[in-house]
Assembly symmetry: C2
Homo-oligomer: 158 residues x 2
Amino acid sequence: MEDRLQTLVQKIRQHGHRLTPQRMAILRILADSTGHPTVEQVYEQVQAQFPMTSLATVYKTVTLLKEEGEILELSFGGESSRYDGHNPQPHPHLICIRCGTILDPDLALFNDLPREICDKYGFQMVNHRVDFFGICPACQQAQSVSTTSTPQGKEQEF
Amino acid sequence: MEDRLQTLVQKIRQHGHRLTPQRMAILRILADSTGHPTVEQVYEQVQAQFPMTSLATVYKTVTLLKEEGEILELSFGGESSRYDGHNPQPHPHLICIRCGTILDPDLALFNDLPREICDKYGFQMVNHRVDFFGICPACQQAQSVSTTSTPQGKEQEF
DNA sequence: ACCTTATAGATAATTATTATCAATAACAAA
DNA sequence: TTTGTTATTGATAATAATTATCTATAAGGT
């Protein structure tokens, strides 16, 4: 996990980019994050350390990491993109449409399957994405425990 | 394929919605389309028949079909969403990042796999999405045939 | 310490999509 | 067939995430 930060720092320096305190703080947050935060959420965390930091700076750092292939971006329809700077390789996700949590199941199956499928179709794969949308166990529990007939709130669209 | 149009028409009427000529034209285009068009592309096709049609009307019809579960929406980061009104069930896609073509491979594997995986994790699945991004066979050929060193144009981001 | 230039911060611009609203037309009922 | 209700249309404004712009600043090599 500290390794991951070092990898990011190294990649940044290798390409002649500079390490500002703000950028360093952003890298640290992204390297440690397992919750697939939005840019806005990263921004809020950075501001705790550097109150003067601009949202644009977070966007620019994320863009930089995308170019280096060191961050995984999960874009959705209307919602803000979610980012994984901890594990930038494509991997499947379980996405709760109620609370927005994104889980990383351990599915060894998807290590080789995408490439095999694409090879079969003569398709030169450069990326892939596997998302399962639904209600996570925690939200199912919250629902079943509820004694009122109060609706649980409309789920997000994704 | 004519069946598909009838299904859409029926779904629309069932829910008390009205069938205007514009809406009918949009349904016809979406029912027949195998190319995963954008709203803009549907709009252009509709205008050939009804030049006064508004882009907003296409958006509204697509939204309606989404609510009915009769159209599959593929949202991407920056790009416009692509739509499949011909086969609205979730299915895997091969997406060319160079020409934008979206192919539907026949992968029986993905009929049951998503549900099995989610069951295993206690995740109540309501939707899923499997996308493979890369260079389609046609674009690979165009590249290898090219004798000049002219770059093939930057691929889109998706 | 100096110099070059990438980066920060603030804000304007972009763009797909959605909301608004008055005029019109679908369609059920008389 | 005519009528009445109201969903829909078309035009345009609003929204919101992301990107572009631009000047002052500071990173990092010399």
